[in-house]
């Protein structure tokens, strides 16, 4: 390529980037923001005033262009609060940083999950905040928590976060297939399994749907998921099976899922009208 053409290519890209950055209006920053930052950072102020400053700053941060000049100072202050403050200011700062997918906040949360003595928030809260970033750094801990934690809330949060992890297919298969498992854990696992491995899900799901002794809520979730997958025809006799299910179940959610499946699935030869 001719060097002048190369330079022109970059110049054009820079121009487009500049246009994008000012497209929403290059308006002036809110003059109150520096005062709010100063207030938030002032340890001599009552905590309630500092929290109010943080709440307003978080609101202002959504006005992206106008807030942009203050963003580095804002993030630096939030990190300082995470390292030095106590709840509730600590929690608010962690949440604000987690929404920014800030690495410092993620590391603090992961450290706390690995070593409860260093935890700044409880495991459920840590998982909730880490779930803001699918690329966050805690998949090994998630599997441990999903597999063994005694707290059902923590388990469910861990399972939801693992839904992006292709290595967790085996875990989801095991949980969704086990009638002794927590119902919500099974439904979360069913949805995750369908997203990660459609074939594995379809096989397990039909077994569950056909098991009258299994949990009806889990059966309904599986049937609903099967019904929205255009690749699922069910195979011979499935339509009849689902119609029978619709006609005999006393569980409204299961009946509804069956009805929806029948409406959306292609008719099989020999299906009753």
């Amino acid at each position: 390529m001719d060097p002048d053409e190369y330079r022109a290519t970059y110049a054009a890209e820079m121009e487009r980037a500049r246009a994008r950055s000012t497209a929403s209006g290059d308006g002036p920053a809110d003059p109150a923001v520096p005062d709010l930052l100063a207030g938030l950072g002032d340890r001599n102020l009552p905590a309630i005033e500092r929290q109010a400053a943080l709440t307003e700053l978080r609101r202002q941060s959504f006005v992206a262009i106008a807030f942009r000049p203050h963003r580095p100072a804002y993030l630096a202050l939030l990190r300082e609060l995470v390292d030095t403050e106590a709840p509730p200011l600590l929690d608010d700062a962690l949440e604000a940083l987690a929404l920014e997918r800030d690495e410092h906040a993620q590391q603090v949360l992961v450290d706390g999950l690995r070593d409860p003595d260093r935890a700044k928030v409880g495991p459920a809260r840590a998982l909730e905040l880490l779930s803001q970033d699918v690329h966050a750094d805690h998949y090994d801990i998630l599997e441990e928590l999903a597999d063994r934690d005694d707290d059902p809330v923590v388990r469910r949060l861990a399972l939801r976060s693992l839904a992006a992890d292709g290595d967790a297919v085996g875990l989801f298969q095991r949980i969704v297939s086990d009638p002794a498992e927590d119902t919500e854990a099974r439904t979360i696992s069913a949805v995750a399994l369908q997203s990660l491995d459609r074939e594995a899900f379809t096989s397990v799901a039909w077994d569950i749907v056909g098991d009258e002794g299994d949990d009806d809520e889990v059966r309904a979730t599986c049937l609903t998921a099967l019904g929205v997958d255009p690749a699922v025809t069910g195979g011979e006799g499935r339509g009849e099976q689902v119609q029978a299910l619709r006609d005999t179940t006393s569980t409204p959610s299961l009946a509804k899922a069956a009805e929806r499946f029948i409406e959306t699935s292609p008719a099989e030869e020999g299906d009753p009208a």
Partner: protein
């Protein structure tokens, strides 16, 4: 930071800081394949890379680390490694196209700037050495402008960057920079365009019995050699969950432009193959939607696919520049291979932009196997 790999990395960086003649030993730490990055989040691996690049800035940037610096400035979107790359660029003679790289990085980071501390791997806050990516980019521009061995800065380009959306310290630094560039000064000699690199993949025979099966965007399965042997093929790597618009989204869009360029030249028999780093997640449906949503028309000799068998083998054979945490890619380079009709990798672009017109030239120069 825990783990053997991390402790070893810390020890190595400390040793190199104490003995800068060992600077070349830092380079492997920058690769996505290094164990220090395995299992780390995207943000954590960015921080590690920034820390290593900052060490390079102290001891002198090794030659083999230059592609990593170029890559961060060209396509990086995380503040810490971009800041560190800008700083590292000041530790050796200026790169020929450094000004363009700095301006490109400034555009990328304008809406993404964040505070950065490069003094340690796990900085506490407040950090006494806190800086930002934009501040480091302007500092490097100022350094560049003061060099006798570099062209004059393009005053107009830097002047246009000013705006009320910039932090006060960045605006101040820009103003100080412009005071050092006299009015009427423009660029010196235009830089050479980037071209194919000497990536490790060059020379590798993918047409041999490499047991890799690719499922394409239509759900059809093919042994990989069947997709390559018999025609020159451009093979690009990507994944649909990439969050860096300067990488995968741009790569696929440019592949569409390459397709248009080849059609314009009447090159019907050139193959285009888009392979995912994330075969567990990137199903045929996801591959199709991603590619076609970016203007790449799939069908005929243009395919998107995932290795449903042998992905690890392909990864090892090509030494793909991608790392993972759990089942997710945590970081990857821009990678484009040109494969000749025998199935051998003839050229590669790794960690650098590629332009459709030049790639088309190189593809068409690869001689097809006589029928």
């Amino acid at each position: 930071m825990t783990g053997t790999a991390e402790r070893q990395a810390i020890a190595l960086v400390d040793a190199v800081r104490a003995d800068p003649s060992r600077r070349d030993e830092l380079v492997p730490l920058l690769s996505e394949r290094h164990p220090v990055h395995a299992g780390r989040s995207t943000a954590a691996t960015a921080r590690i890379r920034a820390w290593v690049l900052a060490a390079c800035a102290e001891v002198g940037l090794p030659d083999e680390a230059v592609p990593f610096v170029r890559e961060e400035l060209e396509s990086g979107i995380e503040a810490a490694p971009v800041a560190a790359a800008a700083r590292a660029a000041r530790s050796r003679p200026p790169l020929p196209d450094l000004e363009v790289l700095l301006l490109t990085a400034f555009a990328s980071m304008r809406a993404r700037d964040a505070p950065v501390s490069l003094a340690s791997l796990r900085p506490g806050w407040p950090a006494p050495d806190a800086t930002t990516a934009l501040a480091e980019l302007v500092a490097t521009a100022r350094w560049l402008g003061g060099r006798d061995d570099a062209p004059s800065l393009d005053r107009a380009a830097w002047s246009e960057l000013d705006g009320s959306d910039l932090a006060p310290d960045v605006r101040r630094a820009l103003g100080e920079l412009l005071e050092t560039v006299p009015e009427g000064h423009c660029c010196g000699a235009a830089p050479e365009a980037p071209t194919a690199t000497t990536a490790p993949a060059v020379g590798i025979d993918l047409g041999a019995r490499l047991e890799v099966v690719v499922e394409d965007h239509a759900g059809a399965r093919h042994p990989l050699p069947d997709l390559l042997v018999g025609r020159p093929t451009a093979v690009a790597f990507f994944y649909t969950r990439c969050e860096n618009p300067n990488k995968c989204s741009s790569t696929v869009t440019k592949l569409g432009h390459l397709q248009e360029e080849l059609a314009r030249r009447g090159a019907d028999e050139v193959g285009l193959l888009l392979l995912t780093y994330d075969p567990a997640y990137d199903t045929p449906d996801r591959l199709s939607r991603y590619a076609e949503g970016r203007g790449l028309r799939l069908g005929g000799t243009a395919r998107a696919g995932r290795a449903v068998q042998g992905h690890d083998r392909l990864d090892a054979t090509l030494a793909l520049q991608a790392g993972s945490a759990g089942g997710l890619v945590n970081r990857h380079a821009v990678e484009l291979l040109l494969v000749d009709p025998r199935g051998t990798v003839a050229a590669a672009w790794s960690r650098t932009r590629w332009e459709p017109a030049e790639v088309a030239d190189r593809l068409l120069a690869l001689t097809p196997v006589p029928r």
